[in-house]
């Protein structure tokens, strides 16, 4: 593997991991928002 191979390997791994992490955060945020919406609406309903 030539020098550029190593460079792209490193850059590739780093940026894909960061992107994956960002997606996982976004997914967790969406899930939590959905849960909050559901919990808040049901709690209002039981007043």
């Amino acid at each position: 593997m030539g020098p550029w191979g190593f460079v792209f390997l490193a850059y590739g791994i780093v940026w894909s991991c960061l992107l994956l992490y960002l997606f996982s955060l976004k997914r967790r945020q969406r899930k939590a928002a959905a849960e909050l919406l559901q919990l808040r609406s049901t709690s209002r309903g039981t007043d």
Partner: protein, 235 residues
């Protein structure tokens, strides 16, 4: 409360956009505009990743330390959320640093791993972060988890200078001069264009880090509120 959430969300988006912009500029400088190193060739470009990520890993640990101290002092939930958010992102950046260091090492030194001071220290940092995350996940009570995590965060941070000293002494006292690795950071005697590429990339990673941290913090706040609502209903 909804308005501050929206304002924070907008702030995060702006931060994210700035991060993306500087990342693209950084990539352009790092991969194209900066010249290759005289000795290391193109492989040196990995340093534009490696140096920012290791610095940010240490920054993250520092934030864990400060948040831990604040939590033990004031016992406010948000300090604990900040602590484990910084730990989670810190472990990510530390892991990336190790991978980058290893990939850089193969063409440079011929091996995927070596027990030199810097790589060893990064591995130790990774182990301490891992210990923190596993500790948090294995303690069920939330308050106890926060306190125990804070203790580890503080002790771990206090230990880092001692770990550095001992690992550096260990490596320098045992290395025969003929294979002494150059321990100077690559920014001594360096082409100004490379220094610029390094600075831009560092700024890019820094902005990205704070964006991720802000987002992780927000997720933590929301998960906290979900837990509270499930426990106490509509109070």
């Amino acid at each position: 409360m909804r308005e501050t959430d929206q304002k924070q969300g907008r702030g995060r988006t702006i931060l994210g956009a700035l991060a993306l912009l500087s990342i693209l500029v950084g990539l352009a400088w790092g991969l194209i505009l900066a010249p290759p190193d005289a000795y290391q060739g193109e492989v040196q470009r990995i340093m534009y990743l490696h140096i920012p990520t290791i610095l940010i890993a240490y920054l993250s640990f520092f934030i864990v330390f400060v948040a831990s101290c604040l939590y033990l002092w004031k016992r406010e939930r948000r300090d604990d959320i900040l602590a484990y958010s910084a730990a989670e992102i810190g472990i990510l950046f530390t892991g990336l640093t190790i991978i980058e260091g290893s990939i850089w090492g193969k063409p440079t030194w011929g091996v995927w791993w070596t027990w030199d001071a810097r790589l060893t220290l990064t591995a130790i940092l990774f182990l301490i972060f891992t210990g923190y995350m596993i500790l948090r996940s294995l303690i069920e009570d939330e308050n106890r988890g926060a306190i125990c995590g804070a203790v580890l965060g503080i002790i771990g941070f206090l230990d880092i200078p001692l770990i550095h000293m001992s690992v550096y002494w260990w490596r320098t006292l045992h290395q025969p001069p003929s294979i002494l690795r150059p321990d100077k950071l690559p920014w001594e005697n360096v082409h100004p264009s490379m220094l610029l590429a390094l600075s831009i990339n560092f700024l890019a990673f820094l902005l990205l880090y704070f964006y991720l941290l802000a987002l992780r913090f927000r997720v933590g706040e929301m998960q906290d509120e979900v837990k509270k609502l499930k426990l106490y209903g509509g109070q």
